[in-house]
Amino acid sequence: MSSERTSPSDPHDASSPTPETAAETPAGELSSALAALVEGMAQGNRSSLARAISVVENERAGFQDLLHTLLSRGRAGGTRVGITGPPGAGKSSLVSAFARLCRRGRQEVGIVAVDPTSPYSGGALLGDRIRMNDLATDPGIFIRSMASRGSLGGLATTTKEVMDVMDAFGFPRLLVETVGVGQTELEITGAADAIVVVLTPESGDGIQAMKAGLMEIADVFVVNKADRPGADRLVKEIRSALKLRSGEVPGAGSGHHGPAGHHGPSGAPSPAPERKEASGDRASEEPEVERWVPPVLLTMGQTGEGVEELVQTVDRHREWLEGSGELDRRRRRRTADRIRDVLDRELKRRVRRELARESVLAQALDRIARGEGTPYSEAAAFLELMGVDPAQAPLPAGGDGAEAAR
């Protein structure tokens, strides 16, 4: 039984062979099946949560209405932490240790772990749960594995929305773990308030970390597998790279890492937010707020060493996010991105469907074959047909998504 992803408000849906749950419901009104899921979630039913996630993950009929309903209930508000880093850095073990510590404080934790889909078979082997077995029967933990399904940003296309569903369920803590990433898979910024970048002494030299991407999105750096040779060197390299970025001269300004007494057991300085001082700072026109300098921590995910400090650091970061107004800024940015994503998806879907109608595409191809058009003229004509005046809709000149970048 197949159905198109339908927007209930779309006039064409009435004629498409969608199941009874799809179409014809006005926007925002749920089918009875989806309403039952929302009701089940409100009562804390985990099967309902699991099924609601599937609806969103598979973009089944009504999924946008489901999200709309869940978001309007206003229950969301958990702290969202994203864990990213190269393959084999120990992300899953770290997530597991992190969640275990949260559970000591009786906090319930929702986890989304993404693993890659094979580009050849379309299948996926999702193995993150292997490292989380000690959480397996804890009723305060909910783990969902997702396959990336061809998305290249380190998450699946619907991971952010799945996070929203889990958030709406009421978890005070949410963790999302990306696919093992390289340097530019940065979708995670759209899914979490705080980003932890996990590296290992084997991750390569500091130059890797200085390349664009991971370095710029990290709120906290973790050098995992800290017992391996090269860990301390990597910590130093990351710190000096951070200083270069913030325009500091390496080695200068010893008082930049907060009171010396706050040094952690691993020797990592405590992450005290810095007062912005230099008047020549490039961001000096912005309101005077404390700047967050990403701390670099040492951990051993498997034994749990250093993880307590990581949790504390993430909590401190959270306080900073709230106190500085950065949390609101990030969420606004994220919401803007979400609106763009939803529009992109919706427009793409409609364009595809229109193109599939009555050999519109075939006619265009014939005209091009006769030399009467080019792909560009045909696309413009098609836009006009859809009611978009091409002249009014210039393509963005590379500025698109600029707001998305931090």
Partner: protein, 141 residues
């Protein structure tokens, strides 16, 4: 990704105290290559762990590898727990060293087809595909 090619989600589970997970790993890879989304949870799974994972992951199928001889306890127990959690729509299948009489016995208890040693892996894939086509849930739920 359109929902017309909705992925089949399978939990591959290895219960019991033995460390023989080769079969489970092989079948997990075969399922991945068949285009399934496979959740593999590693060794030493209790029935409770398996069912908890199956519910959270909202899988279509639970495939257990049982080589320890404990299949007459493990399969019915997992079936029971699945049903108790409202996951009675989930197919429970599996493989291992299981005598044919036991397979029949388990089938009566709501367990799907079980595969003995030497079964071509393609047979398990075909079985799951066919089951999925016949039993997949209506869209929207």
């Amino acid at each position: 990704m359109s929902e017309t090619d909705r992925k089949i989600r399978v939990l591959v589970a290895k219960p019991g105290l033995d460390g023989h997970d080769r079969g489970a790993k092989v079948i997990a890879s075969v399922f991945r290559d068949a285009g399934f989304e496979v959740i593999y949870t590693g060794l030493h799974q209790t029935p409770e762990m398996i069912v908890s994972a199956a519910v959270q992951e909202d899988v279509d199928v639970v495939a257990m590898s049982v080589l320890s001889g404990a299949h007459m306890t493990l399969f019915p127990r997992v079936r029971e727990l699945l049903d108790a959690e409202g996951a009675d729509h989930v197919l429970l299948t599996g493989g291992g060293i299981i005598p044919e009489d036991d397979m029949k016995e388990l089938e009566k208890k709501g367990v799907g087809r079980l595969f003995g040693p030497g079964t071509p892996t393609t047979e398990a894939v075909r079985y799951i595909r066919e089951w999925f086509e016949e039993n997949r849930q209506p869209e929207g739920v």
